[in-house]
Amino acid sequence: MTYKLQLIDVTKSFGTLEVCKGISFDVKKGELVCMIGSSGSGKSTLLRCINLLEAVDGGRILLDGHDITDPDLDPQPIRRRIGIVFQSFNLFPHMNVMENVMLAPRRVHRTPKAELLAETTALFERFGLADRMTHYPDQLSGGQQQRVAIIRALAMKPEIMLFDEVTSALDPELVGEVLDVLRKLKSEGMTIILATHEMGFAREAADKICFLDQGIIVESGPPEQLFTNPKQARTREFLSRVM
């Protein structure tokens, strides 16, 4: 059993709008998978389904081989194993960033305060934000905020991290620092799924690219192949528009 996560024929509708029309793919441990595709193609919805923030309508999602879409399961313990970072509105604006990071481990894992403080400080240091621990989110730049959001997810010690266009709301200059963090995570062996518009980064860092269009995976494969030699006309058209 080498797959960390498998999606099998996942479908999801909002009312009459079919957003995922049977999506299947799998992610090995330590892999970085990039999802690309135009706005509204269903990338965010898919990530939210994996994190159980949305219930799927059909199909299965297997985490370490266990179906996590079973409606009788308590979703909370599963969510803790899967970290997610959104495009924006990530941090809790009324707490300083240290409190942001420490809240969930304290309430959910009941980690003792001293231990937690040490762990948190270590995390902030690792990502170069040790001097910002008592700042409030709005005192930080967008890039720093996203890095804190990543730290917060990591503090729950997840097995997979999902990133939903984490650089889209950033000024171009701040994109780099967030992508650096992703590179670092990958090099440390984290399993990562990433929805992004940063084609350069996808090409450089991904193990696999999935191109979504209108709720289905049109094409997927290693970045060199997909970017240089796309098989599908739709992929070619999309790439010509964004590159």
């Binding site: 059993m1 797959y3 498998q6 099998i8 024929d9 479908t11 049977g22 999506i23 299947s24 793919f25 799998d26 309508d57 059909g58 199909g59 299965r60 297997l62 081989g65 266990h66 179906d67 879409t69 079973d70 409606p71 289905i216 995976i217 049109v218 094409e219 997927s220 098989k231 599908q232």
Partner: protein
């Protein structure tokens, strides 16, 4: 391509079939049924408890006689309904005046030329005063006071001066709502209009006001609902509208059931209106996202 991947996936889970759409739907229906059952049972038991326990209070019979007296209800309700027509009439002629005068005040507070400073000052002081004094006090002062100045007959009517008091009070609230709406329009809209060379007044008229008025519609709906209720305060200076009629019946029968009838009539109007305002607000919130 995706087909390929799917068949390529090893069937690693114990539940090979997964949860089919039908199975999932059936489970959901079952869950929903259970919820409905729990909800129904708990609701009924709560109401039953109230229904059984309250009449066991020592003074219940007296209270029932004074407040829930069917006989008196029957006798007074038609007259109350009739009296409510006066509330509606007062509301109907006050509301448009409030809308107009409130808008004028909002524009006066927004006046920018220094020569219009007295206007701005006036509007500011006006809003402070009329929002600061209880409506009932304004009604007493204006409704009793102005006619006391010796106005000749048809012009000293409490209907007129009570309505004037309502208009003066409520237009201050409405003006503030308009102003909030005007200020909520993003600075860039003004900038865009300005950059096209539109004048201050054209910008107000074509760009700011249409958006502002629409945006504050729910807030103004709520003001209208309050107004509908405060029309009843006119009764303190004479007009025999719903609340006064209920009060007359109360005095006459020494029984409070007519007030309950009045409350029911108010609810019949305000609940749908509130629902409507809430739905307006919700729709607007949704649109803004």
């Amino acid at each position: 391509m995706s087909k390929d991947m799917q068949t390529g996936t090893p069937a690693a889970s114990e539940k090979v079939a997964g949860f089919s759409k039908q199975a999932r739907q059936q489970r959901e229906i079952r869950l929903r049924r259970r919820s409905t059952l729990i909800a129904t049972v708990s609701t009924i038991s709560v109401f039953l408890a109230i229904y059984i326990l309250v009449p066991m209070a020592p003074g219940w019979e007296k209270v029932q006689h004074s407040f829930f007296n069917w006989e008196i209800f029957e006798k007074t309700f038609p007259t109350l309904l009739n009296a409510f027509l006066l509330d509606i009439a007062i509301f109907a002629w006050s509301a448009p005046l409030i809308a107009i005068w409130g808008l004028a005040l909002a524009l006066a507070r927004d006046a920018r030329s220094p020569a219009l400073f007295p206007l701005r000052l006036f509007a500011t002081v006006y809003n402070d005063i009329f929002r600061g004094v209880p409506v009932i006090l304004t009604i007493y002062l204006i409704g009793f006071g102005i006619p006391g100045l010796g106005l000749p007959r048809p012009w000293n009517s409490p209907y007129i001066w009570g309505s004037v008091a309502l208009v003066l009070s409520y237009s201050a609230y409405v003006a503030e709502v308009y102003r909030a709406g005007i200020e909520s329009i993003h600075e860039s809209q003004r900038a865009a209009a300005k950059s096209l060379g539109l004048s201050h007044w054209d910008t107000m008229r074509f760009i700011i006001l249409p958006q502002a008025v629409r945006r504050v519609l729910p807030a103004n709906m709520n003001n209208l609902i309050s107004l509908q209720k405060d029309v009843a305060l006119l009764s303190f200076i004479g007009p025999v509208e719903l609340l006064r009629q209920a009060g007359v019946f109360k005095s006459f029968y020494a029984n409070f059931t007519p007030y309950l009838g009045a409350a029911l009539i108010f609810l019949a109007v305000t609940i749908p209106a509130t629902r409507f305002a809430d739905s307006l607000m919700a729709r607007q919130d949704k649109e803004r996202r």
